[in-house]
C-alpha cells in the first residue's frame, strides 16, 4: 500500500520548508495529512490517530466487560434473563444522547477536550461496577459506562480533522475498527483477568469478578489522561489557541445544529448506520449466549466465538474504509455510495443465513463472514460522513453514531427482549431489517457529485455546496475559509470519470502551501 512507503527525508523536508509549519508527514492546503502511515507516531496527525483509536478501544473494553463475566455476575446479583436484557439495552441506549452531545462538543471545544472529558467522567461508572449489589445497580452501571461509547464521535471527528479527503476513509476505518476491536478483546481480557485473580490470588469468584473491573477502569483512566496531555485538536494547534489567535472562527451552536438537522443525508446515514454498527452492538450482547444455548457449547468456547466476531474488526472495518477510498478514486462519491449499499446488503443476507444455520461449524463460518461484511459497511459509512457537511461535521458524526446506538436499542427491543421470538428467528429477522434499512442509501444525493442512481447537477461545484452552510454576512467576514479549503480538497470525490482537468493533485502537497 502506498501509504506504508515513507518518502525520503528530503521529500518531507521540502514539504515542510515550503511553510513555516513543520510537519513530519506530507500535508494539503488545510495541513491535513495526505498519507496514512499506520505505524508512525508523528505529531500531530499520527499521534492523534493512535490516541483516538486506543481511547475508543478502552471505552469498548469497559462497556462490554460485563457480558463475558455474566455467568458469575448473574449468580452473584441474582439476575434474570429480563434483567440481563434490560441492562444490555441500557448499555447502548445511554450513548445515543451522549453521541449527539459529543458531536456538538467536538464542533465547539474540539475533539481532544471533548473526548478526554467523556472518558474520564465515565470512568467512575466502571470502577463502581465492582461495588454493585443488585439488578438495578447493575443496569445503572452499564448505562453510565455505555456513555463512553460516544468517544467514537470524537475519534471520527479527530480523524476527519487530521487527514485529507483521499485518506479520510482509511483513517476513519482503521481508527474505528481498531477501537471496536475492544468489543472482542474484552471477551478474552476479562475472563483471563478473572481466572488470574480467582485461581492465582485465590479470591472467591464473587470477589474476583469485582476486582477484574479495575483493569478496564485503569485502562480508561490512562487513555483519558493521554488524550488530554498528548493530543492536539487540529494540525495547527488546539481550538482554544487558534480561536484566540483568530485563525479559527468560533461557531455558534444554533447554526451548527440547524445545518446538521436540515441535511437529509445525515438522517439517511444515521438510519443505515443503525443497521451496521447497531447490529454489531446487538451481536456483542447476544452472540455468546446464543451459541451457548443453541449449540450447547461450554461458556469458554461460547466466549471465544463471541470474541472472534469482535476481533474481525482488526481488518474488516479498516477494509471498509480502504474500499471506500478505492471506489472514490475511480468512481468518486457515487462509488462510495454503491459500495456501502452492496456490502451492507450482503451483510443482511448473511445475517438471515446465520439465523437459519443448524450446525455449529456452519454457524461459526457464516458468523465470521457476516462480521466481516457488517463491520466493513461501518467503515464504508464513515467514508461518506466527512463529506456531508463541513460546518456541522461533529454533530453529523454524532447523529450517525447515535443512529448506530438507536438501531441497537430498537433491534434488541424488537427481536431479543422477552420470548416473543427465539434468538435464531430474531437474528434472521434482523437480517431482513438490515436489507430494508440499507435501501434509503439510494436517496443520498450530492448536487456536485450525484447519487447512486442519478448523476451530478450541471455546473454544481464543491465550493457552492460547502459555502451554502454560511450566510452572506459570514462569508463576507471570511468565516467560511476553512470550508473553501475543504471544498478545494474534496474535488477528488468527482472520481476519474469526470473532467480530470478540474481536479487538483490531492495526493501531493499543493505548491502554494
Amino acid at each position: 500500500m502506498e501509504e506504508q512507503k515513507k518518502p525520503s527525508s528530503l521529500q518531507i523536508e521540502s514539504v515542510a520548508a515550503s511553510d513555516n509549519k513543520h510537519f513530519k508527514v506530507p500535508v494539503d492546503s488545510e495541513h491535513k495529512a495526505t498519507v496514512f502511515w499506520i505505524f508512525s507516531f508523528a505529531a500531530p496527525h499520527m499521534r492523534a490517530f493512535h490516541l483516538s483509536w486506543f481511547s475508543f478501544f478502552c471505552c469498548f473494553v469497559s462497556t462490554f466487560a460485563a457480558p463475558p463475566l455474566l455467568p458469575v455476575i448473574r449468580d452473584n446479583l441474582g439476575l434474570t434473563r429480563t434483567d440481563i436484557g434490560n441492562a444490555g439495552i441500557a448499555s447502548v441506549s445511554g450513548a445515543v444522547f451522549a453521541r449527539l452531545t459529543m458531536g456538538t462538543a467536538c464542533d465547539l471545544v474540539g475533539p481532544r477536550l471533548a473526548s478526554a472529558s467523556l472518558i474520564l467522567l465515565t470512568t467512575p461508572a466502571v470502577y463502581c461496577t465492582s461495588i454493585i449489589n443488585s439488578a438495578s445497580t447493575y443496569l445503572l452501571a452499564r448505562f453510565f459506562t455505555g456513555f463512553s461509547l460516544a468517544s467514537f464521535v470524537s475519534c471520527q471527528f479527530w480523524m476527519s480533522s487530521m487527514f485529507s479527503a483521499p485518506k479520510v476513509g482509511s483513517a476513519n476505518g482503521v481508527a474505528a475498527g481498531w477501537g471496536n476491536l475492544g468489543g472482542g478483546a474484552t471477551q478474552l481480557i476479562m475472563p483471563l483477568v478473572y481466572e488470574l485473580i480467582h485461581n492465582a490470588i485465590g479470591s472467591t469468584k464473587f470477589t474476583a469478578w469485582r476486582i477484574a473491573f479495575f483493569v478496564p477502569g485503569l485502562m480508561q483512566t490512562a487513555a483519558g489522561i493521554a488524550v488530554v496531555a498528548l493530543g492536539q485538536d487540529l494540525p495547527d494547534g488546539n481550538y482554544q489557541k487558534l480561536e484566540k489567535a483568530g485563525d479559527k472562527h468560533k461557531d455558534s451552536f444554533s447554526k451548527v445544529f440547524y445545518h446538521a438537522v436540515t441535511n437529509h443525508r445525515a438522517w439517511i446515514l444515521a438510519l443505515t448506520y443503525g443497521y451496521c454498527f447497531g447490529v454489531e452492538l446487538t451481536i456483542d450482547n447476544i452472540i455468546a449466549e446464543y451459541f451457548y444455548d443453541r449449540f450447547d457449547v461450554n461458556l469458554r468456547n461460547a466466549g471465544m466465538i463471541a470474541a472472534s466476531f469482535g476481533l474481525a474488526n482488526i481488518f474488516s472495518r479498516p477494509a471498509g474504509g480502504w474500499f471506500s477510498d478505492l471506489l472514490s478514486k475511480r468512481y468518486g462519491m457515487r462509488g462510495r455510495l454503491w459500495g456501502l449499499w452492496l456490502v451492507q446488503s450482503f451483510g443482511g443476507v448473511l445475517c438471515i443465513i446465520l439465523g437459519l444455520m443448524d450446525s455449529l461449524a456452519a454457524a461459526i463460518s457464516v458468523m465470521l463472514l457476516f462480521s466481516v461484511f457488517v463491520q466493513a459497511s461501518c467503515g464504508l459509512s464513515f467514508g461518506i460522513v466527512p463529506f456531508v457537511s463541513r460546518r456541522s461535521l461533529g454533530l453529523i458524526s454524532g447523529m450517525t453514531g447515535g443512529g448506530g446506538n438507536v438501531g441497537a436499542v430498537l433491534t434488541q427491543l424488537i427481536f431479543f427482549q422477552g420470548s416473543r421470538y427465539s434468538t435464531q428467528k430474531g437474528i434472521a429477522l434482523m437480517g431482513v431489517m438490515i436489507l430494508a434499512c440499507t435501501l434509503p442509501t439510494m436517496l443520498i444525493y450530492f448536487p456536485q457529485w450525484g447519487g447512486m442512481l442519478v448523476g451530478p447537477r450541471p455546473n454544481a461545484t464543491e465550493e457552492d455546496y460547502y459555502a451554502a452552510e454560511w450566510s452572506q454576512k459570514e462569508r463576507d467576514s471570511g468565516c467560511h475559509s476553512a470550508s473553501l479549503k475543504f471544498a478545494e480538497n474534496s474535488v477528488s470525490e468527482r472520481g476519474k470519470r469526470r473532467d480530470p482537468s478540474t481536479t487538483v493533485p490531492v495526493d501531493t502537497t499543493p505548491s502554494h502551501v
Binding site: 474520564l120 461495588i131 471477551q187 485503569l218 450447547d296 461459526i364
Partner: protein, 247 residues
Amino acid sequence: MLNFPGSAALPAPQEIKHEAPKVKRKGILPPIPHLAAKKTKGMGGLVSFSATCLFLLLSSFAGSAVGSVLFSTLPKTLIVSASPKQGQVLRAGEDKMAVSWALNQSFPVGTDEAYKKVKVRLCYAPVSQADRGWRKTDDDLSKDKTCQFDVAVQAYTTTTWTSFEYELSRELPTATYFVRAYALDYDGRVVAYGQTTDDQKATNLLEVMGISGRSLSLDIAAGCFSVLSVGSLVFFFVAAKRKKTNK
C-alpha cells in the same frame, strides 16, 4: 466464557468423544477487492495472519457426542434427607448441613446390584430457575442444568443410612435449593436417583444466602480511583486556565 463446578455434563467425562468440526479453509473470509489488486506486504500480512488465527480458533471447537441418559427413565430408589428445616436460611461459606441417603427398602432385593457410587448434588428449586435459562431443567441429563454443585461422591454401601456433613461452599449463589443423589454404575452412568423434595420440587427446600463478594477495601479503591479520574480532568482544566491567564 467460564467453566463452573458441576456444570460438566453427566455421565462421566471419559465417555465424551471430541470431534473437530469439518470446516473448509476457503470461504471463511471474503476476498477484499482492493487488497487483491495491490499486493502489499504490511496489510496483506495482517489480513492473512488474522485469517489464520480465526481458522485455528474455528478448528479448536469440539462437538461432543454423549450417550445421553433421560431423567424420566430413572427409578427413584434412593431416599435423601438434609438437616435444614423448611424456610431456614443458611449462609454460604459459614454454615454446615448434614446429608443422609439410603436405598428405599420398599424396592426388591437386588435393585442396587449395579450401584457403585453415589454422587450427591445441590440443585436449584423452580423458584430460582424462573427466567434463568442457564439453570433450566432438561430431561436429557447431559443438557440438564438443575444440579450444578457437587456436594460429595461416595462409594455405594448397603448399610441402612450413609450420613456426612457438608460445609456450604463460598461459591454458592443466593438461591433456593434441594439435595439430589444420583446412583452411578461401574461405567459411571447414572442409573437411579433420590432427592430431598417431592416430584413437584415444592417441599423440604433450603434457602442459601450467598456471599456478596464486596468488601470495604473494594469500596475504598473504587472511590479513590474514581476521584483520581475526575481529579485529573479538573487538574488539566485548571492548568489550561492558568496558562491562558498567564499569557
